[in-house]
């Protein structure tokens, strides 16, 4: 990817973060942040899913593979899941997946899971700003020797991750 497209108008590199937000808590919180005009960093893109439990590890890996510098998953607080326990599933997958990503040299700060309830617009702001700050510090993601290897990794680990 050429520097041009991941850089801002002033030409300096800017991170790209994909954020999977659950419809009931975190996405609503993001709306609240909007309604409350809580300005925050723009270098993230939200994908709405019904529940953080819907976030397939492959989505995350795919995002990294396609050039995301960070991935954020936002769900309801433990005990508050609109679907009772989807967020717990998300949590368990997150642990396995982040271990795998780290073993592949993707820093911990690049993959994050946050509980943000519908009323926590402020938290959306702080989490986003903090994550962007950390990833700016890390710089662009240098994937370990290209996607092919990543896919290979994926195949071998798939079972273990998906069987949670």
């Amino acid at each position: 990817m050429d520097i041009q497209q991941t850089s801002d108008s002033s030409g300096t590199w800017q991170p790209k973060i994909i954020a999977f937000f659950c419809n009931w808590c975190t996405y609503t919180a993001a709306d609240l942040a909007g309604v409350s005009r809580m300005k925050h960093d723009s270098h993230f893109r939200i994908i709405r899913v019904m529940c953080s439990g819907r976030v397939d590890p492959q989505f995350v890996i795919d995002a990294f593979a396609r050039g995301a510098d960070g991935v954020l998953i936002g769900g309801c607080h433990p005990g508050d899941c609109h679907y009772m326990e989807g967020n717990y599933k998300a949590l368990r997958r997150f642990h396995l997946l982040s271990r795998m990503l780290m073993s592949m040299g993707i820093e911990q700060d690049r993959f994050r899971l946050e509980w943000i309830s519908a009323s926590e617009g402020e938290k959306v702001r702080t989490v986003i700003n903090d994550m962007v700050r950390r990833i700016r510090a890390l710089g662009p993601l240098r994937l370990p020797a290209g996607l092919a290897e990543l896919d290979g990794e994926l195949k071998t680990r798939e079972e273990e991750i998906l069987h949670v």
Binding site: D8, N23, K39, V49, R54, A63, R66, Y83, A118, H163
Partner: protein, 670 residues
């Protein structure tokens, strides 16, 4: 007309939302950019897409350009997705060939740099365009609505909602935790600004509830379990033992006289401990239902069994049952209205007002009881130390507008303080001081009431009281409570000796609001009050279909507002009931049988038991009726056999893909 010869023809529309979006996002640039994307046939910007002309534009284009996919970039889908889906459907395209891009809440309202915002708006638009191409035609699943309604909470809000629905011919179950309905309003003496007595306007409604053929009234009961979904909820209710058979008791109260306790010894809840009751009692004269109950904590018979049980002998209807146990009922309803009310702020949390240390410091509710004709002093203003006050200080904003306790304004305190000022002066002829930060008398005839008080020569001192002490510096202060405050209008600190202090305590969420919230699967705002679906456009809806909120459980409210909300909640419920059915998002999971390896890893994942294992076929099977569409099973299926409508893997991948895809050099020039 849409899916002929499979060709995908996308129409893209970016909304200015007046200046809300257009001020930050270069909408024209976005439209130009999207026009260059594959499958896009039409790409326009428009001032207000949600307006009639906006929707008409959409309809016209679909017709003229044979569009079969629609993307609108405007506000949050939580606000207008339905609007545009309907518009799409009107024009003959399946509504699920629509995708919405949120460039207001998620872009223009939260970002300041136009270049960055525009860049982001484009990425999101590109992702949506790719996603919509992968969409499938779907039929919304419809469920029928059980016409029965559950109302939780028997305060004025719950009462009003229940009566409204019952009068509309619906069967209502009203569940109240306390032994009687009436809530806080029943404790008030008079109501502002009209000064008509609370009991006079409330008790008729209470008995109406009791006698209404369509209302089942369950007091001293609590909801313990809620299952199901909109239109089809199954609710378990626990009846706490009153040790009195409700159906047999006629409220003659002879048992109370008969109690072995000759004197009432127990501080009574209804009078906030200012009066006493016996272990067998009725909360207050107009209690509804007119049924006595026994407090197991203090009744000798229940506690130890060693008692002459004179009450039992006395009751010739044999209503008293000292062995009564808690019992459960299960009911099915289609909709639920929560009116669980509020709790008053505990002023012990602000030590500097001396509540609990100085007997003559009262909270507003206690003052209400003190001046109430049916109160512990039968309306005589007699203080805890037996004196009659010559001067009274009313302290506003106790536990309100204070970041150390509660940030919010409780909205009712100013007015009830004015009311109490008037009543206290009327009852005792005392000098009354109001200590306020701001007087908030915004309401019909409220300001006029404030005028009235000013003319009655009640003192209004603008300043937040710093402390209430018994620290006398000069002889005139001996034996008084000293209020230290800055008179901010005059700019001096004043020490004002009074005989009685009334703390205008604010309103806070019920202490168990969080548990109740979980029980009914709704959200709370930061403050802990129940969260409405939209602060302006859906004030009584929640994020859970079929569950509505009314009254002070949603935020501080006075009686008129609570009643208005209760009516609104009832109307929302009626809307569902009378439409008979509700369309649900077709976002359910489904299985491609041939791919299922029968590994069973999904079976236990589903919290709704929608997935079962067919032993004969050695594979799973999904009951779409039970599926609520979280997608957890989809993400966990190792053989990718489970899919979710509206959130297909393919759809999400193309969204990711779209967000991260390279942009052509042309596009980067903003």
């Amino acid at each position: 007309m849409s899916e002929q010869n499979g060709e995908i023809r996308i129409g893209f529309y970016v909304c200015h939302c007046g200046h809300n979006i257009a001020n930050i996002v270069d909408v024209a640039a976005v439209a130009r950019y999207v026009a260059g994307l594959p499958h896009v046939v039409v790409s326009r910007e428009y001032k207000y897409m949600c307006s009639d002309p906006g929707q008409e534009l959409l309809r016209q284009d679909i017709h003229d350009h044979r569009l079969n996919r629609i993307v609108v970039a405007s506000c949050s889908p939580l606000l207008h997705e339905q609007t545009f889906r309907t518009a799409t459907a009107k024009a003959g395209v399946n509504p699920f060939y629509f995708q919405m891009v949120n460039i207001r809440e998620n872009v223009s309202w939260v970002h300041e740099d136009p270049a960055e915002a525009t860049l982001k708006a484009r990425d999101l638009a590109r992702a949506a365009v790719r996603r919509v191409a992968a969409h499938k035609a779907l039929q919304p699943k419809t469920v029928s609505i059980n016409p029965d309604v559950l109302v939780v909470g028997g305060g004025i809000a719950g009462i009003h909602a229940a009566l409204t629905l019952a009068n509309a011919g619906k069967k209502v179950t009203l569940v109240e935790r306390a032994p009687t309905i009436g809530g806080h309003m029943a404790m008030f003496d008079k109501t502002f600004p009209t000064l008509d007595c609370a009991a006079c306007i409330l008790t008729p409604k209470m008995s109406a509830v009791k006698n209404h053929p369509n209302i089942t009234l369950w007091t001293y009961a609590e909801v313990t379990k809620v299952d199901g979904f909109v239109g089809n909820y199954t609710v378990t209710v626990k009846h706490k033992p009153r040790y009195v058979k409700e159906d047999l008791c006629v409220g003659c109260l002879e048992c109370i006289d008969a109690c072995v306790y000759k004197e009432a010894k127990v501080p009574d809840e209804f009078n906030r401990g200012l009066g006493k009751r016996k272990p067998i009692y009725i909360p207050f004269p107009q209690a509804t239902p007119q049924v006595v109950l026994i407090d197991p904590e203090t009744c000798i018979a229940v506690k130890s069994g060693k008692c002459k049980r004179t009450c039992v002998e006395k009751c010739d209807r044999l209503a008293i049952d000292l062995d009564q146990k808690e019992s459960f009922d299960e009911i099915t309803v289609g909709t639920i209205i929560l009116a669980t009310g509020f709790k008053t702020f505990d002023p012990k949390r602000v030590s500097y007002y001396g509540y609990g240390r100085y007997p003559n410091v009262y909270i507003s509710l206690e003052a209400e009881r003190l001046i109430n004709a049916s109160g512990p002093t039968s309306g005589e203003l007699i203080l805890r130390d037996g004196r009659r006050p010559k001067t009274v200080g009313i302290v506003h904003c106790v536990g309100s507008r204070d970041k150390n306790t509660h940030r919010w304004c409780s909205r009712t305190c100013c007015m009830y303080s004015l009311k109490l000022a008037h009543l206290l002066k009327e009852h005792s002829g005392a000098e009354v001081y109001n200590f306020y930060i701001d007087i908030r008398a915004a309401g019909k005839a409220y300001e006029e009431f404030y005028d009235k008080l000013l003319e009655e020569n009640v003192h209004f001192i603008r300043g937040r009281v710093a402390e209430v002490t018994d620290w006398a510096v000069i002889p005139e202060e001996e034996g008084k409570l000293i209020i230290r405050v800055e008179d901010t209008m005059i700019g001096v600190v004043r020490r004002i000796p009074v005989d009685m202090v009334v703390l205008a305590v604010g309103m806070e969420p019920q202490s168990d609001a969080q548990e109740v919230r979980r029980l009914f699967n709704i959200s709370c705002s930061t403050e802990g009050f129940f969260l409405e679906r939209h602060p302006k456009l859906a004030p009584v809806d929640t994020f859970t279909d079929g569950i509505f909120i009314a009254g002070a459980c949603q935020g501080p409210k006075d009686i008129p507002d609570s009643v208005a909300q209760a009516g609104a909640a009832a109307a929302q419920a009626l809307m569902l009931i009378d439409s008979g059915e509700i369309k649900l998002e077709p976002n359910t999971a489904y299985l491609t049988e041939q791919n299922c390896s029968g590994c069973k890893s999904c079976i236990n994942l589903c919290p709704y038991h929608a997935i079962s294992y067919l032993d004969d076929k050695h594979r799973a099977s999904i009951n779409e009726a039970l599926c609520k569409g979280c997608g957890t099973c989809v993400a966990s299926c190792p053989s990718g056999a489970i899919h979710q409508n509206l959130f297909e893997d393919e759809e999400i991948y193309s969204e990711i893909d779209g967000l991260l895809a390279e942009r052509s050099p042309e596009s980067t020039a903003v």
